[in-house]
């Protein structure tokens, strides 16, 4: 595939041209926290961090709170369009500029659950209209990570700082320019747009990009082999190791709120007076005891042990079984955000060691 390049100082022109057709989301740092914000008339330049943002871009397609429908005097009205607070009147197509490869991979994983994939059987046959409305025709510009963080472990999960899964265009920071590589049909189409501030990349640019990538990859720690983790977990349901792993967990759910692949949600009704209101869905977390607590008072997951087991099992066992891949992209946000320094890499290693001990005893 042909490669192109764009001068960093001309990024604003590219983003401006995108806003004509798309609602454009870019990484922005505000109060020391980097997250994705929609481009407005007075904000046009992304903060390029060379690693993933503090908050994942998941909320662009799956807002933390969204209205499923409103009702008035018994009459139900579903939102005609995806109703985020960001919506502009002219356009609903979404472009994300500057997501990191791990987060972009998470979109592909959640597509399977919400029914974007060709294989609808995988998503239980029900398609999630809200996710699909936003995801359809979305254009994703990924920026590879020149400087992965010490918490990054995408390379454990078939990922890497420059992988393309889910991207339409992959950008590599090569100094004064970004190398731009289309990696989907949408990306190819976009690059043909007239008047883009891009030019063909020279051999030297491609070579430079390849060096940058090798350097970035070399800063990641050696990957731990987790190919048999799913099968390992199959045998560990009753193992006391879950007590050990869950011991210090506060059940605060910071890990799941900041996880790009955590999708569990609650559905609640909000009344505004007697006759009108709305039904909303909000992010929820399996780390909360209320998540599974039944009206009778019975709770199948009463303590943090069962809830931690659920979270780990879901990501590394059930997700694989139901959706064909690990439900983790190695972004490391749960490690960075945990108030008691729980490290999911250590959890994986602990599980692997327990499994090893068991097999040796046999």
């Amino acid at each position: 595939m042909a490669a192109f390049k764009i001068k960093k100082k001309r990024l604003k022109e590219l983003i401006d041209s995108l806003t004509k057709e798309y609602r454009v989301f870019i990484p922005v740092e505000s109060d020391g926290v980097s997250s994705f914000k929609e481009v407005t008339s007075d904000s046009h330049l992304p903060t390029i961090n060379s690693h993933n943002t503090d908050r994942p871009p998941k909320e662009i397609f799956f807002p933390q709170t969204e209205t499923l429908f409103t009702y008035k005097e018994g009459k139900i009205s579903p939102p005609e369009q995806p109703n985020t607070k960001y919506r502009t009147p002219n356009t609903d197509k979404i472009a994300i500029f500057g997501a990191s490869p791990c987060d972009v991979k998470s979109f592909s994983l959640l597509d399977r659950l919400f029914g974007m994939e060709r294989n609808v059987a995988k998503c239980s046959g029900y398609k999630d209209a809200y996710w699909i409305n936003r995801r359809t025709n979305a254009l994703i510009f990924t920026i590879g990570c020149n400087y992965p963080l010490s918490t990054c472990f995408c390379n454990w999960l078939n990922g890497g700082p420059f992988t393309k899964e889910g991207s339409d265009l992959l950008l590599t920071d090569i100094g004064e320019d970004f190398l731009v590589e289309p990696c989907s049909q949408n990306g190819e189409e976009f690059i043909k747009t007239k008047g883009l501030p891009i030019q063909k990349a020279a051999k030297v640019d491609i070579k430079r990009a390849s060096t940058v990538r090798k350097e970035a990859e070399s800063t990641l720690s050696e990957p731990v082999d987790i190919t048999s983790l799913k099968e390992g977990l199959d045998t560990l349901w009753d193992n006391p190791v879950w007590n050990e792993i869950a011991y210090k967990c506060l059940s605060c759910a910071a890990c799941s709120y900041l996880c790009p692949t955590c999708y569990c949600f609650d559905i609640q009704d909000e009344r505004a007076g007697n006759a009108r209101g709305k039904r909303i869905r909000v992010w929820d977390s399996c780390m909360f005891s209320l998540f599974t607590k039944e009206a009778s008072g019975h709770n199948p997951r009463p303590s943090s042990k069962e809830r931690m087991r659920q979270r780990i099992m879901h990501k590394f066992n059930y997700f694989v079984e139901n959706l064909g891949d690990f439900g983790c992209v190695g972004c490391g946000r749960c490690i960075r955000s945990c108030p008691v320094n729980m490290d999911i890499r250590e959890v994986i290693n602990t599980i692997k060691n327990v499994k090893l001990t068991i097999s040796n005893e046999k």
Binding site: I76, C123, Y126, N133, I267, Q268, D269, H314
Partner: protein
């Protein structure tokens, strides 16, 4: 694209107080828009919705052969069920469904069917029994064992009385402790199952009830030599979406809302024990 989160309007044609303590009410619901009526099978469930209060899942208690209404029996226990209990006849309610899988009624054809129920879990078992009776010639012997703590907590008593008179259905009713005026069996469901001792020959068994009843009935069925593949039950979990997305009703990798609620004992034995 179909939006799986939008309920359709139905209304209560008839509301019956089902138990003597008034915690159980039965609702015969009709569709406000006839074109929204759907096909289903015994064992499936729906989400009932009171706008402003929320949704909760309930097994369909009527048989698909009963075309005039959809029946649900609601135990008043939380916010939504209390709001449903406040409903009066003719008032609107939202419904999403049919959801989940069903009892494998196709497999039951030409076989004996044993139905074992306890307490207010008899709802989808009523659906199943009515279905089998409506297609009576397709099935061999039908045995129903149904128990409650006391007579006033047995559901659908008028129908039970009619079933007792039939000669093409063996009905065994039981209560936990003897009370005056009760001249039928006394004893817990597992014990009564042992006494009745249905034959596993060419038979399927469906058992629904409180977890403690299930726990003690399964070994009895195994003793009677019912293979795990021929024992079915229906599970309940806290649910929200009902369509396999919101992530809370799973037991191991299986979601009760889409992979269940009906599971065979053989399937359950492969799942982790999550109580």
């Amino acid at each position: 694209m179909e939006n799986p989160y939008i309920p359709v309007p139905v209304k209560a044609k008839k509301i019956t107080v089902e138990s003597d303590d008034k915690t159980l009410r039965t609702y015969d619901l009709v569709f406000c828009n006839e074109e929204e009526r759907f096909e289903f099978l015994p064992g499936q469930f729906c989400q009932l919705s009171i706008l402003g209060k929320g949704e909760a899942p309930f097994g369909i208690a009527s048989s698909p052969t009963e075309k005039e209404f959809l029946k649900f029996t609601v135990n008043r226990v939380g916010v939504v069920t209390t709001a449903i209990h406040w409903l009066e006849e003719g008032e609107p309610i939202g419904l999403r469904g049919p959801l989940g899988n069903s009892y494998p009624v196709e497999k039951f054809k030409g076989c004996n069917v044993v139905i074992i129920g306890g307490g207010f879990a008899f709802t989808t078992l009523r659906a199943l029994t009515v279905y089998l009776l409506a297609k009576r010639q397709d099935f061999k012997d039908i045995t129903v064992i149904y128990g409650a703590r006391r007579p006033g907590l047995l559901l659908y008593q008028n129908e039970l009385a009619q079933w007792e008179k039939r000669d093409d259905l063996k009905l065994h009713l039981t209560i936990d402790e003897a009370v005056s005026g009760w001249n039928k069996r006394v004893g817990f469901v597992p014990t009564v199952t042992k006494e009745v001792a249905p034959s596993p020959q060419n038979a399927w068994v469906v058992v629904c009830g409180p977890p403690i009843m299930i726990k003690y009935t399964l070994p009895v069925l195994s003793e009677l030599e019912f293979p795990p593949e021929r024992i079915y039950t229906s599970l309940e979990r806290r649910m929200k979406c009902g369509v396999g997305k919101c992530g809370r009703c799973n037991i191991g990798p299986k979601y009760v809302c889409v992979d269940g609620p009906v599971f065979s004992y053989a399937e359950l034995q492969k799942l982790p024990m999550e109580e």
